[in-house]
């Protein structure tokens, strides 16, 4: 089991800046147990260029990873990450800015050349936005467009992977062209893949869950939306293929309820049920909580599936008030998650 904590600047205003955040993610994923495959044509972080500067979504390249555990030979899991940017246009047609984009596809086989041939999680945006058109602000694109440093956490052990980009209390900012300041963006971004496990936490070959979540920017000034863009897909290795894609993480929380799991000095957390489609023990990689219950970035030991595990709190991102960006469920904006971190 391995963890990684890094700060990255999600800025595509130059090739160098693009390489810095992309290679930062790449390095961290490998540090926590993912193995990069030998698929041809993968990104070379010393030579890749950020791509077109015209208004559009531009994918510069991809990486392919595989899990690294005893089941990888019989129930393989591969994930393809694509890196790039999207460009927003002003109403005058001048392009601003370059917002980083990541896509992910998950499957059980590749063709060796960058294509996942047995998809269990269709290609989905993990970070970024559709091309937006600004209706206000300057037409000038002469100024530097930069983003602030973001705290990022990674964890894994070859049988699961967790990634949290932009997990900090202050909202990320982008300085757009003269006259336009975006105070928010599509961070935080959460990503988890975990195999099914037995009641003791040992991985089984029944299936896997893929979870994604980010905040879709909207409007002329690229502000953060009001609900997370979240997905959950259960994949079966027992003949049922992939389940339907949910628009939230189905953590068994009692709704918004009383807004806290802190009761009489105790803290309560909520499991994410898994099916393959047989009902399985809960997901080990994530737990649910309310946004004020455990301080952001603090770690807590919690007994799950019979053993004590360390979890990192991702509550309080963007604050603990109404503007919190910790939720992975648009119907429970007071919710947050704990990410396995050991």
């Amino acid at each position: 089991m391995t963890t990684s904590s890094v700060t990255l600047t999600f800025d595509n205003t130059s090739d160098a800046n693009f390489r810095a955040w992309g290679s930062g993610i790449s390095t961290a994923l490998q540090a926590v147990g993912l193995v990069q495959t030998s698929d041809t044509g993968q990104i070379n972080w010393t030579t890749v260029v950020r791509g077109s500067t015209s208004a559009a979504e531009n994918i510069a390249g991809y990486e392919m990873y595989g899990f690294n555990d005893s089941l990888q030979g019989t129930q393989p899991i591969f994930l393809k990450l694509e890196y790039g940017h999207v460009i927003m246009t002003t109403n005058s047609g001048t392009a601003v800015p370059y917002l980083p984009v990541i896509y992910i596809t998950v499957g059980t086989a590749t063709n060796g050349a960058g294509k996942i041939t047995a998809v269990v999680r269709n290609r989905v945006r993990l970070l970024g936005s559709s091309v937006l058109t600004s209706t206000s602000g300057s037409t000038s694109n002469g100024g530097a467009i930069s983003a602030s440093n973001q705290q990022c956490y990674f964890s894994g052990d070859g049988s699961y992977i967790c990634m949290a980009l932009g997990a900090q209390a202050s909202l990320p900012t982008y300085n757009l062209s003269t006259g336009i300041t975006a105070v928010a963006s599509n961070l935080p971004c959460f990503f988890v893949i975990d195999r099914t496990r037995n009641g003791s936490g040992t991985i089984t070959g029944h299936g896997a869950v893929t979870l994604t979540s980010y905040w879709q920017p909207t409007g002329a000034t690229f502000v953060t939306g009001t609900t997370p863009t979240a997905t959950c897909v259960m994949a079966s290795f027992t003949g049922s293929g992939s389940g339907n894609s949910d628009t939230y993480w189905p953590i068994s929380m009692p709704g918004q309820a009383f807004g806290t799991g802190s009761v009489s000095g105790d803290l309560y957390f909520w499991p994410l049920p898994m099916v393959s489609p047989t009902a399985e023990p809960q997901c080990l990689a994530v737990l649910g909580q309310y946004k004020t219950d455990v301080t952001l970035a603090s770690t807590t030991s919690i007994t799950v599936l019979g053993s004590s595990h360390t979890y990192l709190s991702l509550a309080g991102i963007g604050g603990t008030g109404a503007g919190s960006l910790a939720s992975v469920n648009g119907s429970i904006l007071s919710g947050a998650i704990l990410m396995r971190y050991e």
């Binding site: 959950c232 259960m234 079966s236 049922s240 389940g243 339907n244 894609s245 949910d246 628009t247 939230y248 189905p250 068994s252 929380m253 009692p254 709704g255 918004q256 309820a257 009383f258 807004g259 806290t260 799991g261 009761v263 009489s264 309560y268 909520w270 049920p273 898994m274 099916v275 489609p277 047989t278 009902a279 119907s331 429970i332 007071s334």
Partner: protein, 335 residues
């Protein structure tokens, strides 16, 4: 526990039909254990009228106040206000307005003023009606002709109601006006792990399918869930879904071989409590509508009735209590 079933006509185009519909619901609730209080001003089903048309509004014509009837009622009282009225489909193109559908509102509280008001910790007032709006064009004054199957159950510490459990959604005879069916209502005290009611709190669940647009063409689920605490935390936030522990849409079925997975409803007071006994979740294709099944919940075998495949068997069916899980359905305790 007690059960009751009936067929009701979802029609308020005459005073007589309005009284038949409303009193039918009232009879069902009382038959399964709710006790009508002596609060003043309650509806008289012999004399109440459907009311005066107010274009584009849902109007309450009166109320009843009920209470639970268990050993906890004297110390942790639960009162239920049920209001009956009409949804008026306004018509700016033709003079006058029509009464298109029955309407209900439910509120739960821990006290009353002896008249029309609930006091203490009081839930949100939840409507089970069409959205209030106006529409140009011809009004629909045709009476409904389809009777709807209704189920009631209760055990003095809980009450369940399911109105309009049919394979075809009830509609008016002309104009294509559909009623916001089914209506579902559950009020249940918290329970211990043996199923005995406790003094910690209660859950209040409702569901209906009102029109969500101004032209009365689009129906959308309106599910609500709320908890009242008796341990000092008052009334919880109002949720727009019933918090079952579903694994999401998943594979669309809990039927695996010879077993069927059923999903509990999570209850807090705010202390985590055992699951609700009155309702369980399932996928709509897993059990037949109206069929009963024995399920062990909170340590004992209980009978549940399937509220599945209502108005169809696909994602357009009106079984869901969570708009993100349209293949979901409810099993209602029925014994």
């Amino acid at each position: 526990m007690t059960t009751s079933s009936s067929s009701l006509l979802m029609d308020v185009t005459s005073d007589a039909n309005f009284r038949a519909w409303g009193s039918g619901i009232a009879s069902g609730l009382q038959a399964v254990g709710l006790v009508k209080t002596s609060n003043t001003g309650q509806i008289n089903w012999s004399t109440v009228t459907r009311g005066t048309a107010t274009s584009g509004a849902a109007v309450s014509q009166g109320y009843e106040i009920y209470r639970l009837n268990d050993s906890l009622q004297s110390t942790q009282p639960v009162f239920i206000k049920v209001e009956y009225g009409t949804s008026v489909r306004g018509n700016s193109g033709v003079g006058g307005a029509s009464w298109a559908a029955p309407a209900m509102w439910v509120t739960v509280g821990t006290g009353t003023n002896g008249a029309a008001t609930l006091t203490g910790s009081v839930s949100s007032r939840i409507a089970m009606t069409h959205a209030s709006n106006t529409q140009t064009g011809q009004p629909s004054t045709a009476a409904a002709t389809q009777y709807s199957t209704c189920y009631f159950s209760g055990d003095t510490s809980s009450v369940c109601m399911a109105i309009g459990i049919d394979t075809t959604i009830a509609s008016a005879a002309s104009g294509g006006v559909f009623f916001p069916l089914p209506y579902l209502l559950v009020i249940e005290r918290t329970r211990n792990s043996s199923g005995t009611a406790t003094a910690d709190g209660l859950i209040f669940l409702t569901s209906c399918w009102p029109y969500s647009d101004g032209n009365w063409t689009t129906i959308a689920l309106q599910a609500r869930a709320q908890t009242i605490s008796f341990t000092g935390s008052g009334v919880g936030s109002l949720d727009t879904f019933w918090p079952f522990s579903w694994p999401g849409l998943a594979f669309g079925s809990g039927s695996i071989g010879n077993t069927v997975d059923i999903y509990p409803l999570v209850v807090v007071s705010p202390l985590p409590e055992p699951n609700a006994l009155s309702v369980l979740g399932c996928y709509q294709g897993d059990l037949a509508m109206g069929s009963t099944i024995q399920i062990t919940s909170l340590g004992s075998s209980h009978t549940y009735i399937g509220l599945t495949a209502i108005g169809g068997t696909d994602t357009t069916a009106h079984t869901a209590v969570d708009s993100r899980i349209l293949t979901g359905a409810v099993l209602m305790r029925y014994e």
